[in-house]
């Protein structure tokens, strides 16, 4: 069963304790990982997700991953961290190396969803990205934490230098497309939908 977005944002999910390799992932990636697991029959992979809201304070991610590795490592043959750098300034990768666990490559999920090489080649630094999860959770991750629900006048201080919102669609979902378009309008940005599927995520997990 797929957990609710609210659960994935606020509290994360614990492992099912089935499988010999544990994925420690961001809650924002749970649906995609569970879908890949089911589609490919990757029963050797177990999944625990940390609350996606840690993205609002990236400094929490490294410590939370460290704690999760310590908590679970004795129960599994291996651990794989499904976080990109996610604003930790290289801190998460350094910690994973210290802990002797591997992690997925890339600066952000929206980089590996597109494919890290393709994403880097675009040099699209005036784009603001949303994934399926972030479209669904736009208010929880963008609108409210930035105070735009209370102070819409701050919008251009945050987004004045951006030009477009790119919705990287992991799935074909007209409702999400419409919502993402509305998100772009609320931020005063032009809109582009780009279907990415799961990008580098599938190949990274298939190697485990």
């Amino acid at each position: 069963m797929i957990p609710s977005d609210e659960t994935l944002t606020e509290s994360g999910i614990g492992p099912a304790r089935k499988g010999r390799i544990l994925l420690i992932a961001c809650g924002a990636l749970a649906r995609e990982i569970l879908d890949l697991k089911a589609a490919n029959g990757w029963d050797h992979l177990d999944l625990t997700c940390l609350p996606a809201k840690y993205h609002l304070w990236p400094e929490k991610i490294t410590e939370a991953v460290t704690e999760a590795v310590a908590k679970h490592r004795d129960a599994y043959d291996g651990i794989f961290v499904v976080y990109a750098d996610c604003g930790t300034g290289g801190g998460l990768m350094a910690r994973c190396e210290e802990l002797g666990v591997e992690m997925i490559e890339g600066p952000h999920c929206y980089s590996f969803f597109e494919g890290n090489d393709a994403f880097a080649a675009r040099e699209e630094y005036t784009a603001f990205y949303l994934t399926d999860f972030l479209v669904r959770q736009f208010d929880a991750f963008v609108w409210k934490p930035m105070g735009l629900d209370r102070h819409p006048e701050l919008r251009d201080m945050y987004f004045g230098n951006y030009e477009k919102l790119v919705y990287q669609a992991q799935t074909e979902d007209p409702a999400l497309d419409a919502k993402a378009r509305d998100c772009a309008a609320r931020l005063g940005l032009t809109y582009e939908r780009r279907f990415t599927g799961y990008g580098d995520l599938g190949p990274a997990l298939s190697r485990l």
Binding site: P58, D85, G87, T88, G89, G90, G91, P107, A120, E123, Y125, T126, P145, M146, G147, L148, R150, H151, L154, M157, Y158, N161, Y162
Partner: protein
């Protein structure tokens, strides 16, 4: 009868008014800050005193509460907007009255990065502390930094980045300064959410500044060391 919440700024004495302005700044009340600034000026306060005692002191409280997790980015931005409005009134007057100048800073966000909220806050607080600030904006290649430093005869270079992918560009700038034999002529301060002290050291900056208040204090410390060095030399 006036509501208890209604405070008539012009009826407060100087001390009460300054404290009220600290509160208003904290609450991001732009109109009230503009009014308070005008009242103090009308009462004969120097622009420098209004800036430091009412605005900078108020913004320092905001900065401390942000650091302690009591205030968050939206509230800080509202406070900054209010302070900016007050400073817009004071700036021309400060230029006329010859307020003390502590030093000159060139500040900008690095190439490939368009984020400027932190940079703008640092620039504003540096101005409030008496620094002349030349803001070269966002997405700056190394050439922009070098040209601005030379053109402005600055004391300090401030570089900002919000992305893990763009922060290494700060090293490109510092290495270019070294190649040109100009690194030692400037104090280099770096900041931005994904940075830390270790990174600042690794790229050869003089200091990493975790927030605007730290940037101001660090800049002041380095400027005073520079003056001491010059005096001793």
């Amino acid at each position: 009868m006036a509501d208890e919440e209604d405070i008539i700024l012009s009826e407060l004495d100087d001390e009460e008014l300054v404290l009220q302005m600290h509160d208003d700044l904290y609450d991001g009340l732009k109109d009230e800050i503009e009014e308070g600034v005008r009242i103090l000026l009308d009462r004969g306060w120097t622009p420098y005193d209004v800036l430091t005692k009412a605005l900078v002191a108020g913004m320092t409280i905001v900065g401390a509460d942000f650091r302690d997790g009591i205030l968050f980015v939206p509230e800080v931005l509202l406070a900054a907007n209010a302070m900016k409005a007050g400073m817009a009134i004071l700036k021309p007057l400060l230029a006329e009255t010859g307020a003390p100048k502590v030093g000159k800073m060139v500040i900008g966000t690095v190439k490939g990065d368009i984020h400027d909220i932190g940079k703008n806050l640092v620039g504003m607080m540096m101005e409030g502390a008496g620094f002349e600030v030349v803001d070269i904006g966002i997405n700056n290649p190394v050439e922009n930094y070098i040209a601005a430093l030379e053109r402005e005869q600055a004391d300090i270079l401030g570089m900002s980045a919000l992305l893990t992918t763009t922060m290494p560009y700060m090293k490109v700038v510092i290495d270019t300064m070294k190649e040109k034999g100009m690194r030692e002529d400037y104090i280099v301060l770096v900041g931005g959410a994904p940075l830390n002290e270790e990174f600042g050291k690794a790229i050869g900056a003089d200091a990493y500044c975790r927030d605007a208040a730290v940037a101001v204090q660090t800049a002041k410390d380095y400027m005073s060391r520079k003056h001491n060095k010059l005096a001793a030399g």
